[in-house]
């Protein structure tokens, strides 16, 4: 069994599904000969040939349109946007067609496509290469938004996303693409979509996060544990549809919640979770919900980048603020 990084887990999942389902094709800029800008599709062209690993022109509108067309006619395309900040050219196709094809045709046609995109900041990249734009998609009906946080979840959730009959936006936290390895059996076992993963059990405060911030949040939980504070850590994993029950069950127990995400604060997805807690868990809460997020500005270039992103210190401080109330 291989010990692999998150990016290798993506490759492994794509290869497994292409081998076992001939209707799966991969398309995007440089996904073929080059193996992808982050090497996510490395080796797929040799294994599956140019009919199934398609180098497209440098034209996001075309990639978006081809993907919708392929999917509506029975293929399972996995399109790559080189960076999450390049996906905007495909929004017309994703929002106006992929997301509403099932509804528009009363279920006669579906779009079983996946849009993969490296997501988030922290790699000292230029503009358009570091955004956390998941909330743009969580507000669109008909899209599933998935954001794995480990090699194992990248593998299992990508398989599940490809097998899902509806369009999935699959964001890959590029900051942790190669940060560490995990044993991920290449067995084709998908993980469940639409459920949260509880990574750490705790009694005092619930920390809710997703993507690369899972790393800082777990480290914050360790720090809190050293001070005798038991934090539960929830990786949301599928943002839409949201498994609010798991979060609510945890908050029933802890009475406190800190939401961590790197996207800008206003109308970030943390706002949705916070609103749901206000609607359904008001009497379970013993402290106001805290959010540790990016700021309402574009993510800065690299000298300031780490100041913009949530940090272990900010998460610990927010958790302690909730505990100061009793």
């Amino acid at each position: 069994m291989a010990q692999i990084t998150l990016i290798e887990a993506v490759t492994q999942a794509l290869a497994w599904e292409m081998k076992n389902d001939p209707s799966v094709v991969v398309l995007g800029e440089d996904v073929g000969i080059n193996g992808g800008v982050f090497r996510a599709t490395l080796g797929l062209l040799d294994k599956f040939g140019p009919d199934r690993v398609i180098d497209t022109p440098l034209d996001e509108t075309t990639i978006g349109g081809i993907t919708v067309g392929l999917a509506a006619q029975g293929m399972k395309p996995v399109a790559e946007a080189q960076f999450e900040g390049f996906i905007y050219g495909m929004l017309e196709q994703i929002i106006c067609h992929a997301a509403r094809m099932r509804n528009r045709t009363r279920g006669r046609m579906t779009v079983p496509a996946v849009w993969r995109a490296p997501w988030g900041g922290g790699i000292r990249a230029p503009e358009h290469h570091s955004e956390a734009n998941e909330a743009i998609f969580t507000n669109v009906p008909g899209l599933r938004v998935v954001l794995p946080s480990s090699p194992g979840r990248a593998y299992g959730l990508l398989l599940a996303s490809i097998r899902d009959p509806d369009p999935v936006i699959f964001f890959e936290p590029k900051r942790i693409y190669r940060q560490y390895k995990e044993e991920v059996p290449d067995d084709g076992e998908a993980l469940p979509l639409d459920v949260c993963f509880v990574l750490r059990d705790g009694e005092d405060v619930t920390l809710v996060t997703w993507g690369a911030q899972v790393k800082e949040t777990l480290e914050a939980a360790d720090k809190l544990a050293a001070e005798g504070i038991s934090a539960e850590v929830i990786d949301v994993a599928t943002l839409k549809p949201l498994d609010f029950d798991t979060i609510h069950d945890s908050v029933r127990k802890t009475g406190r919640c800190v939401i961590v995400h790197e996207a800008p604060r206003t109308a970030g997805f943390g706002a949705e979770i916070s609103a749901r807690l206000a609607e359904h868990a008001l009497y379970d809460l013993v402290a106001p919900v805290e959010r540790v997020t990016g700021y309402d500005t574009h993510i800065p270039l690299f000298r300031l980048e780490m100041k913009y992103l949530p940090s272990v210190g900010k998460i610990v401080a927010a958790a302690k603020r909730t505990l100061a109330v009793s």
Binding site: M1, V37, K174, P185, K215
Partner: protein, 459 residues
């Protein structure tokens, strides 16, 4: 440095979910050789020898003779011997199997504290930095998500997430992983069996979360030897058996042919719309020396030729039927091990002698268990001659994709009104079950009539 590989039981070619170990040809410590037989396994249909995919020393076997191994489960560990022939890595064996069963327990080997520490400072430079822009932190350290013990059960986050998705109460799932860790497979099986539905407990979810930490998980199905008492779990008296005695009155795992029968019959019952028609064949006119089985088969062939709708396969999902130009008859053969249905091929072109020889051959092969798996499928219609023992009429079961089966009961003499008087005639009671999705009552009646007419002939 030698490497130990686990060989997982492949699908032995028939799409069956498991097989039973008949006999190991190697034992731990022996050297297994590539492509030489490791073990003989009894599938639902036949005994198959499984060749070794590796060469090397046998380290561990995951079962003894009589144990059922699921397809995809670990069968044997072999420590590779580099000096012997090995299959090249890239060679595809064509086997598909599920996740290695023993993989999950590793989840809790490493404590989580501190494991996430990455190399601080700047990203390690790799030959291929993995990105065309910026700089990416890269590390080779491996980390493992730990199994948590919330609610008194051990499970990694993925397993808890799956349980949540499938509505499975982890507190009621029996764990198969090492140290009592619940695996993905445990959750899937519990979901399939419906044995651990969430909400089946009386406690409210909120209360359960708190209370469960103090409640021990339910006992595993088998109690430890030291716990053996004369009382059942609910306090009722029960029979106990010392471990040295062979157990009866206890559930026993069905194996091989009997296991397959259970599946096939349940499947047939779920799908087919059976209708049974009974009548008597008058064989009074038979010349001496007629062979009942041979005549039954001949009449069945004639009936198939007259009414092809019953010599057919039916696909209820696609709503298609396939009428067959040939007649391959599945002959039900009863054995102590269970029911076998070998196929008598091309019954429509065999003469009486050929039919008898073919039947004798099939019976011999079934009894010696040497019948090839392909001889046990693909028939177009079935015949059961249950009347050898007792019983007049029956409602035999049509097994998809076939659409008809004829069963012959015990022959007898019966008074028949003949030309104003009575005669004692030998008759054979016949029962025809057909799948009413695929054939009409009229077709079935004409089919049975053809059989009766042919059986009435002297020769």
């Amino acid at each position: 440095m030698s490497e130990t590989k686990t060989f997982h039981l492949p699908d032995l070619g028939e799409g069956l979910p498991d097989a039973t170990i008949v006999e190991w040809f190697v034992k731990p410590g022996d050297v297994a050789h590539l492509d030489e037989p490791l073990v003989s396994m009894e599938t639902a249909k036949a005994v198959v020898e499984v060749p070794s995919p590796f060469s090397g020393k046998v380290v561990k076997q995951y079962g003894n003779a009589g144990d059922v191994i699921e397809t995809g489960a670990a069968l044997i560990d072999i420590e590779l011997d580099a000096s012997l022939a090995q299959r090249a890595d890239a060679e595809e064996t064509g086997h598909h199997h599920g996740p290695p069963k023993a993989a999950k327990p590793k989840a809790e080997e490493q404590p989580a504290a501190g494991e996430k520490k990455s190399d601080k400072g700047e990203a390690t430079e790799r030959a291929d930095s993995g990105t065309v822009v910026g700089a990416m932190e890269a590390g080779d350290h491996v980390h493992t998500e730990r199994a948590s013990t919330a609610g008194g059960v051990k499970a990694v986050p993925a397993v808890r997430a799956l349980a949540k998705k499938l509505g499975v109460d982890l507190g009621r799932v029996s764990a198969s992983g090492a140290d009592g860790v619940i695996t993905l497979k445990d959750v899937k099986s519990a979901a399939e069996a419906g044995t651990a539905k969430q909400g089946a407990r009386s406690a409210a979810p909120g209360a359960a979360a708190g209370a469960a930490t103090t409640t021990p998980p339910p006992a595993a199905p088998q109690r430890a030897e030291s716990q053996r008492t004369a009382l059942s779990a609910s306090g009722q008296p029960m029979r106990t058996t010392p471990p040295t005695q062979s157990v009866s009155g206890q559930p026993e795992q069905l194996k091989g042919v009997r296991r397959n029968m259970a599946r096939v019959m349940a499947d047939a019952h779920a799908k087919v719309v059976p209708t049974t028609l009974c009548d008597d064949a008058d064989i009074h006119a038979w010349a001496p020396g007629n062979d009942i089985t041979v005549r039954l088969i001949r009449s069945l062939v004639r009936a198939c030729q007259a009414v092809p709708a019953l010599n057919a396969w039916f696909d209820g999902d696609k709503l298609t039927r396939t009428l067959h130009p040939h007649v391959d008859i599945g002959i039900a053969v009863d054995t102590d091990d269970g029911l076998f249905v070998p196929a008598l091929r091309n019954a429509d072109v065999l003469d009486a002698n050929g039919i008898r020889q073919a039947i004798n051959r099939l019976r011999d092969q079934v009894v010696s268990r040497s019948i090839p798996a392909e001889e046990l499928k693909g028939y177009t219609i079935s015949l059961s001659n249950f009347g050898v023992f007792a019983g007049r009429y029956a409602t035999p079961v049509v097994v998809p994709p076939t659409v008809a089966i004829v069963a012959a009961g015990k022959g007898r003499h019966q008074m028949m009104p003949v030309m104003g008087g009575f005669e004692s005639h030998k008759i054979i009671p016949l029962s025809l079950t057909f799948d009413h999705r695929a054939a009409t009552g009229g077709e079935a009646a004409r089919f049975l009539k053809e059989m009766l007419d042919d059986l009435a002939k002297p020769n």
